[in-house]
């Protein structure tokens, strides 16, 4: 099979608005009616992009036992400079259905056994149009540089290698799937902020580095519907190891407000000071900060670990303090049924994940005069009172530092859904009036087991400033079909 595809997109917009109408009657609400020029705005934009692709693929299947698929695609995108428009992305996969082999054909207990392997590369060009160009902007009569271009910009590519096994037993009543994958994303397209010394410019998109994800995935599915008592279970588990393999030579690390990405560590790894307690008295401060002649810290402030032991807490004492990418995720769905009664529930969870709980800082630790929660009652209030929560104050108690005190274990186990239903059709004669009548009670997010003190451990924000939490729903319902 072969094909070609061409996509061209052109967008333009025009806008106008005004404030302060002189008369509020609708008949006078015209853009140019009255007022000073300051109350008028107008705007316009235009951009275009094009993507041209050629692709081909071939399938081969020998006796329903051996499968080979190979494909190649070549894409040219206008988003890259003319020298770097083309990207080539091949893939190949092979399969061996072992259960079809003569030595297993007779095994009735085994309904399916398939070994799979694949490797393939995909491209990514999801960046702004013209990202490789240097741009100017006009402010009043002045032309100002708004971004430096990167003429070397090229396609990001992701290579995924996968090996997997599908097993089915007892006429596929019991299924297992196992996969091991390794996904390497190279030339990642990322906007990189330049040092401010080159002026006030927005970030340049750069092929910033290589990130590897690898992991193991397994799922099991079992259904028994042979008897009056039916039951089934589906469960899955996945591990993930995320690691930055290398970064652009000019960028040994990428820093965010609370993160630092560097080779050998996960993407967006939290980076900051290590909290090791609360200063209990002045002699503790002067011995810990022996490199500072008159420390400004006072008892009740957060004590940070002096990683290099020089008696000074400064930027050199920062380290990686958490990984926002879950190392293990799992879920399990149970289904039970007996006559008209059915019960199902779904558990979901993640392990080995940290999150920066900025809400805790803003509400309970910050020096700004905001309302606090009752957690403030546990604040340090004298020698020996606590070694975990700093004094409550309008001065900086150390909470302005990015530190491990805000990095919390966001592992959780949550009952996402539970539902109990009863089919009244089994007791009330359905007959002509209705076909089906089911009464049910269900609950979402009924309980969560977690140590995370933010609003929702499922938040995926790097800096959790209080993601609106998922609600707990209780529902009683009746479902009638006529």
């Amino acid at each position: 099979m072969g094909g070609t595809e061409y996509i061209q997109n052109r967008a333009s917009s025009i806008g106008a608005s005004r404030a302060r109408f002189e008369y509020t009657q609708p008949t006078f609400q015209y853009l140019d009616f009255g007022g000073t020029a300051q109350d008028l705005w107008n705007s316009g934009t235009a951009s275009e992009w094009a993507l041209f692709s050629l692709f081909g693929s071939a399938n081969y299947n020998f006796q329903n036992k051996y499968f080979v698929t190979a494909s190649l695609r070549a894409d040219a995108s206008s988003r890259f400079s003319p020298d770097n428009q083309w990207g080539y992305f091949p893939s190949v996969s092979v399969g061996w259905r072992i259960s079809q082999e003569s030595f297993l054909k007779e095994a009735n207990w085994l309904s399916d056994l398939k070994l799979r392997a694949s490797t393939g590369t995909l491209g990514n060009q999801e960046i702004d149009n013209y990202a490789y160009l240097t741009l100017l902007r006009k402010s009043g009569e002045q032309y100002l540089i708004s971004r430096y271009g990167n003429p070397d910009l090229k396609w990001e590519s992701t290579r995924q290698d996968n090996i997997g096994l599908d097993i089915g037993f007892l006429k596929n009543k019991l299924n297992f799937t196992f996969d091991y994958f390794k996904k390497t994303t190279s030339d990642i397209l990322l906007p990189i902020s330049l040092p401010a010394l080159v002026g006030n410019v927005s970030a340049t998109v750069v092929n910033a580095g290589t990130v590897m994800n690898k992991g193991f995935e397994a799922s099991v599915n079992y259904d028994n519907t042979a008897n009056a008592f039916t039951y089934g279970i589906s469960a899955n588990i996945a591990t993930l190891k995320n690691e930055v393999v290398k970064l652009h030579p000019n960028l040994p690390n990428l820093t965010g407000p609370v993160t630092k990405t560097e080779a050998g560590h996960p993407l967006n790894s939290y980076f900051g000071y290590v909290m090791e307690g609360i200063y209990q008295n002045t002699s503790e401060i002067s011995s810990h900060l022996h490199g500072v002649s008159s420390p400004s810290q006072v008892p009740g402030d957060i004590r940070f670990k002096d990683l290099n032991g020089d008696g000074i807490i400064n930027d050199d004492d920062r380290t990686h303090i958490g990984n926002p990418n879950p190392r293990l995720m799992y879920g399990a769905n149970f289904r039970l049924g007996y006559k008209g009664l059915d019960l199902s529930f779904l558990f979901q969870g993640a392990e080995g994940v940290e999150r920066y709980n900025d809400l805790k800082k803003i509400i309970d630790y910050d020096s700004r005069p905001f309302n606090h929660t009752v957690a403030t009652l546990g604040a340090w209030n004298g020698e020996g009172s606590t070694n975990t929560m700093p004094r409550s104050t309008f001065q900086d108690n150390g909470s302005s530092y990015i530190s491990s005190i805000f990095v919390e274990d966001a592992s959780y186990l949550r009952l996402k859904n539970i539902e109990l239903g009863y089919d009244l059709g089994k007791v009330v004669k359905s007959g002509n009036v209705f076909q089906n009548c089911r009464l049910y009670v269900s609950a979402q997010n009924l309980f969560t087991v977690t140590k995370y003190t933010g609003l929702d451990p499922e938040s995926t924000a790097l800096i959790d400033q209080g993601t609106y939490p998922q609600s707990r729903n209780l529902m009683l319902g009746i479902n009638v079909r006529f």
Partner: protein
């Protein structure tokens, strides 16, 4: 069948060729340097010069949008000079708002503090604009294409050189060795080539070179332009040269240059101290040598935004600062009125209409004659010209005592008396230190003064601040070190 293929294949190829061409279309909806350079306008060049001034303004949000954490809301002179020196405190009623500013007061900041990023960013954005202007103005082909005559070209070039020197001077005083960029970058990878620090001496040399060039290019006269009186003048260049000499303790140069400036007869002390700051007296006074000209109600904005901060309770004096003033010194109330919580010097009027105004008309004064005269007094004192030093200090005191009080009265006789003749260098120096603090209070000179006099540590630790020797240089903004991948190094001790 064969015939169909003979048609399809060439058709597909033609289609392909057509599509391929569409991948290389000229960009639309944006502006590239090529587009501007192929059809340059005179306004591109004059705009580049004018925009080079803008980073000296106190207009809000020129960089970013309410980006307090990175110190970008407005130019941070008041923080890194006035708060840091113990003259100013963040707010009249201390609270936890913008805690990073308090870290200047307590000297507990780290290199992450937004104040450093702000000051660095404003200055380097200014430099970037100057470099762009200079690259246009030194391009002979462009100049002849636009028919910009030599007089206009020189004048504009002189302004760009002066401003570049001004920004670098501020950087080198705050941070020591800093990256020295003298021309616009061509692409992003060049940013990493220039991300390295150049020695303080070399930066100072460049400042002197640029000022010397500006001196030969700016036309003579109190104002260099009869309509745009805000532009760099001959006097501004000379004053800046004197300031550079002062900061490098070249006392004889200070005296020579200021004598030259006095000889021009452009400047004298205003009879009323407040005329320096009064909006009504802008470009009609005798004393202001260089100020940023804020103009309200412009698009884009060009008004003074620091008045807005004052409206939110920022910009307050310390008790120590207020106590520095002698009895009946009228300069105190023109600077801060603690009872009414007003800073008239910043408002540009003795009313409160500008308190809270995000777009005020008051100018930001960078160099004025009283400052210059006190430089000369200092240079005399350092070269044992004690009588002259005392004379110059007394000029300032005379004007102060002759200034009407804020209520329109006269200063009681005997107040702010002339300093007596003295040949005690230390005594005269103390008088000078006092006089500069009260005359130039809240004008963002104080921390530089404490630093160059070498008394910052003694004075600030005396106020209970944890000032250490390393603090004589501010830390390089941590973000710059991170973004450069470490090719920019940190100052010692941070």
């Amino acid at each position: 069948m064969k015939a169909i293929y003979q048609l399809i294949i060439p058709a597909a190829l033609l289609l392909t060729m057509g599509c391929m061409k569409n991948l290389d279309r000229d960009p639309i909806g944006l502006l590239t340097p090529q587009q501007v350079n192929t059809d340059p306008q005179v306004g591109t060049v004059t705009g580049a010069v004018n925009s080079s001034y803008q980073m000296l303004s106190s207009t809000l949000n020129l960089l970013g949008n309410w980006d307090w954490p990175r110190g970008l809301v407005l130019r941070n002179d008041f923080i890194i000079q006035d708060i840091a020196s113990g003259d100013m405190q963040k707010k009249w009623n201390p609270d936890g708002d913008q805690a990073w500013m308090d870290q200047f007061s307590s000297w507990s900041f780290t290199a992450d503090n937004g104040g450093f990023n702000g000051q660095w960013s404003y200055n380097y954005e200014g430099i970037s604009r100057c470099n762009m202007a200079i690259s246009y103005l030194t391009d002979d082909a462009l100049m002849s294409k636009l028919s910009i005559d030599n007089a206009s070209r020189n004048y504009q070039l002189g302004q760009a050189y002066f401003l570049r020197a001004f920004y670098y001077f501020d950087l080198v005083n705050a941070f020591g060795d800093v990256p020295l960029l003298l021309k616009p970058l061509k692409n992003f990878s060049e940013a990493y080539e220039v991300s390295k620090r150049t020695s303080k001496e070399e930066v100072y040399n460049q400042v002197s070179t640029d000022l010397a060039a500006a001196k030969g290019l700016i036309p003579a006269g109190k104002y260099s332009n009869a309509t745009d009186k805000w532009r760099i003048s001959q006097g501004a260049v000379l004053a800046m040269q004197a300031k550079v000499a002062l900061f490098n303790q070249k006392w004889n140069d200070v005296i020579t240059i200021i004598t030259e400036l006095e000889g021009l007869g452009y400047y004298s002390l205003n009879s009323n101290y407040f005329d320096n700051f009064s909006i009504a007296k802008e470009y009609a006074d005798n004393e202001v040598i260089f100020a940023y000209n804020h103009v309200p109600e412009q698009t884009p904005r060009n008004g003074n935004g620091i008045c807005a901060l004052a409206g939110w309770g920022f910009i307050a004096p310390t008790t120590n600062f207020i106590n520095e003033f002698e009895a009946n010194d009228p300069r105190l109330l023109y600077t801060v009125d603690a009872a009414a919580q007003n800073v008239y010097k910043i408002f540009g009027e003795t009313g409160t209409a500008n308190k809270g105004n995000e777009d005020a008309a008051s100018n930001k004064v960078y160099i004025r004659w009283a400052d210059v005269l006190l430089w000369k007094a200092e240079a005399y004192n350092e070269t044992n010209g004690y009588a002259n030093a005392v004379t110059y200090i007394n000029k300032i005191r005379t004007r102060a005592r002759q200034t009407p009080t804020i209520t329109g009265g006269t200063v009681p006789a005997g107040s702010i008396a002339d300093r007596p003749a003295s040949s005690n260098k230390d005594e005269i120096k103390n008088w000078l230190v006092h006089e500069r603090r009260v005359e130039l209070g809240f004008e963002s000179h104080r921390f530089n003064d404490l630093k160059r006099w070498g008394i910052a540590k003694a004075f600030l630790t005396g106020l209970g601040k944890s000032f250490q020797d390393k603090h004589y240089l501010y830390p390089i903004p941590q973000g710059e070190i991170d973004k450069s991948g470490g090719s920019i190094t940190q100052n010692n001790g941070y």
